[in-house]
Symmetry: C2
Subunit: 216 residues, 2 copies
């Protein structure tokens, strides 16, 4: 019954490129010792100084595809000819230890995680210029009409994805955005639907235990 008591939360940080999610991700890891990340698996070659099992798990394409077949990934993607994936087992092991795990991934990856871990906390990081984009582009006058319309059609598509997330944090200032994500993590730990599984049953158990004691 108490098995889930100390299980951590999976936090998925996502959003369009340029939103600053990488900076927020790194700041959160620096500040919260209960928070960890998951080492990804990749088929790309290690760069100078990169250590296998620390920066990435470096594997061949054949090995990677075997893991895909086994269903080992929470999400994976093919980027510029190389595979990158988040191992489900790695994430679960950290969560079971009571650690919170943070994933910083693109929108498609986040939607894949949602299929396999619907109880994760999905946070959409909104670029600071989203609201001002229109005025800026028009004022600047350097982009073609078609380019501006394309940008806005993309923005519109992203807006539709937002409704699949739990939270939106507008990254107008890193410090304030980090504080908001931290507040979300703390608030989520207080949510009744997250704690009732163990905590409330635990109260019920206490009542029963007591009554049993008295009936001895």
């Amino acid at each position: 019954m108490n098995k889930k008591k100390n299980r951590g939360s999976l936090i998925v940080l996502s959003g369009p490129s340029g939103a600053g999610k990488g900076t927020i991700h790194n700041e959160l890891l620096k500040r919260d010792s209960n928070l960890t990340y998951s080492v990804s698996m990749t088929t790309r070659s290690p760069r100078d100084g990169e250590v296998d099992g620390v920066d990435y798990y470096f594997v061949s394409e054949e090995e990677f595809k075997k893991e895909i077949e086994k269903g080992s990934f929470l999400e994976y993607a093919l980027v510029h000819g190389n595979y990158y994936g988040t191992l489900k087992k790695n994430v679960d092991d950290s969560l079971d230890k009571g650690l919170d795990v943070i994933l910083e991934i693109d929108i498609q990856g986040a939607l894949n995680v949602k299929e396999k871990a619907s109880d994760a906390i999905f946070i959409f990081i909104m670029p600071p210029t989203m609201r001002e984009l229109r005025d800026r582009l028009v004022k600047r006058g350097t982009e073609t009409k078609e380019k501006i319309i394309e940008r806005f059609k993309n923005a519109y598509k992203e807006v539709n994805e937002i409704s699949k997330y739990n939270y939106v944090v507008i990254n107008d200032e890193v410090e304030s955005a980090v504080k908001k994500v931290q507040a979300i993590m703390l608030a989520e730990r207080c949510r009744v639907d997250r704690i009732e599984e163990f905590d409330l049953n635990n109260q019920e158990e206490l009542v029963h235990e007591l009554l049993v004691d008295f009936n001895k």
Copy 2:
């Protein structure tokens, strides 16, 4: 469309007596200038120094009952022969101004508010001794078996009510409990289901506006 943009949130702080919700309520009001409370209406007589319209709206029982009939209250209760009620219009006026409103009420009152304002944020303040209650009572040895069982049956009932709340904050230390409630308030402002009504539609409007501009 933007009308709801700056509307505040209604926060309902509740829990069993002795949980320390009054202290948390006062600390929150001290620290957050965007947070306000709602002046209650009562049929009890003003005490020395109490000002009508500031501490309470002091009215006769007849006037109070007229307000009940008109459905003016978010919640009301009869306590030791006196009526106390929270005026729906007062709360709405503050919310419309963009202020967050906090109500500190008992469990029955909170459940009444839930019927009329289901989008409020319901926070259950758990007394610090709840978990230890059993051990303490048994160790102390001063209470009768019946009294202890009764206490636990009440605790059990309260546990069932918790599932109707959104959050539980265990008040083991005031500072930490206040921080948790503040985190909940900040996180709630980032929730997609709270902002999409205006913000996302707003993005959509921007796209349309832009396209219309270009078609001129």
